[in-house]
């Protein structure tokens, strides 16, 4: 077996990157195969590497998971227990907007590149007749920049991953107001493995299933920001992808 490349969704916060290096070290030791962790600066760059079949293992954004499973034959083996991708739409605390119906249909939104958060957020705005065509997006590199654009009054709303919103500093959050928060539960990041590693699926699943019973494994999980892996069946992921399909078209 070649040395597979592992990568993670570019929307993983900088504070979690060290955790993924620790996970990489732990996983190669358990598995007995070297793995190389490679990070991509953007979703675009990562998708290009996926198209060139360079990726072996990926902790993917649910949006990309659809393409990885349906077009590239990847298999989802695990997801973080109790974690789902939820979006928060926030305004400046002084904004006169009290509910989404108060927003203009040409609403300006500060957004990151994260496709899951952007999709969920645009759906949350639909009841106010704000569509992907009328919405004016201002792209920001990070959620901190999204917050800044809202605070500076350059946009009407900001789209946040709920976890990132909750992790903003208290000072920043005190100047923002949450307008709406999704509670979808079924959309989540998943760990996927490429079809060439098919013979290893069960081994990898067993390793991950036992991760929280191992002291070093527990430490590594803590650094990833979750308590355990939930092992997935193929149909769990197919179900999530069907659900995403209803949202994107």
């Amino acid at each position: 077996m070649m040395r597979p490349v592992m990568t993670i969704s570019p929307d993983i916060g900088p504070d979690r990157i060290a955790g993924w290096y620790i996970f990489n070290t732990w996983l190669q030791k358990q598995w007995g195969h070297p793995i190389r962790l490679e990070l991509f600066p953007s979703f675009q760059k990562q998708r290009e590497a996926i198209q060139r079949d360079e990726i072996g293992i990926i902790y993917a954004n649910p949006f990309d998971a659809a393409m990885l499973v349906r077009e590239k034959g990847f298999k989802a083996i695990a997801a973080a227990v109790g974690k789902s991708d939820e979006a928060v739409i926030a305004v400046n605390v002084d904004s006169s907007v009290k509910c989404i119906e108060d927003l203009p249909i040409t609403c300006r939104a500060a957004v990151t590149e994260a496709p899951d958060v952007n999709t969920i957020s645009s759906i949350l705005l639909e009841p106010a007749d704000i569509t992907r065509q009328t919405l004016q997006s201002v792209i920001a590199d990070t959620y901190v920049v999204v917050a800044k654009l809202v605070l500076q009054g350059k946009v009407d709303v900001g789209f946040f991953l709920a976890e990132a919103y909750d992790g903003l500093s208290r000072v920043v959050r005190s100047q923002l107001r949450e307008l709406l928060r999704s509670q979808i539960y079924d959309i989540r990041h998943v760990l996927l493995v490429e079809p060439h590693l098919q013979a290893e699926y069960e081994t990898l699943k067993t390793i991950l299933a036992n991760m929280s019973s191992d002291a070093k494994g527990r430490d590594a999980l803590h650094n990833l920001g979750f308590t355990d892996w939930e092992i997935l069946q193929q149909e769990d992921t197919e179900f999530m992808i069907d659900l995403m399909d209803t949202l994107v078209t």
């Binding site: 119906e101 007749d129 999704s182 509670q183 209803t246 078209t249």
Partner: protein, 153 residues
């Protein structure tokens, strides 16, 4: 006094008396209402928001036909179009007025898609979102016209 019960005839000719109250329940903010059916439209899965909005218990829904939510104000042609579309393997979108167990109603914007596995349709998934009020107003008029036209035939 006008009876709160209405006779509803399903497309297969079976009849049911349903309780109707003219009271709308708002769509739960930030949530999606999700269900799945088998090929015949029998409910196989539903999420907590689905159960909450329907007013039924989980056990009362699983194994029942999806027309359990059918509201008499919904024109039959809308559902004919739904089934024609999804059986061809395509997505269907539409605004639907649904009936709750307690007789109240709620409006949704629904998307129904076929679940395709190894090239075959094995069932259907419906995901409902909060609809735009303007669109609901249009549909109230449109569905009333469709029902009148249907009754005149």
């Amino acid at each position: 006094m006008i009876s709160p019960f209405v006779q509803l005839i399903y497309h297969d000719g079976t009849m049911r008396e349903v309780l109707i109250k003219n009271e709308e329940i708002p769509f739960p903010e930030g949530k999606l209402i999700v269900s799945r059916t088998d090929l015949a439209g029998i409910i196989t899965h539903c999420n907590p928001s689905f159960i909450e909005m329907s007013g039924y218990q989980h056990e009362e829904l699983i194994g029942r036909p999806h027309h359990i939510l059918r509201h008499p104000d919904m024109p039959a042609a809308a559902f004919q179009d739904l089934w024609d579309t999804i059986q061809q393997g395509k997505q269907w979108h539409g605004y639907v007025k649904n009936l709750r167990k307690d007789g109240c109603f709620y409006w949704v914007y629904a998307t129904v898609i076929p679940n395709i596995r190894d090239g075959s349709i094995i069932g259907y998934t419906s995901v409902r979102r909060k609809p735009s009020r303007a669109k609901v107003q249009e549909c109230i008029q449109l569905y009333a016209q469709m029902n009148e036209a249907g009754a005149a035939v």
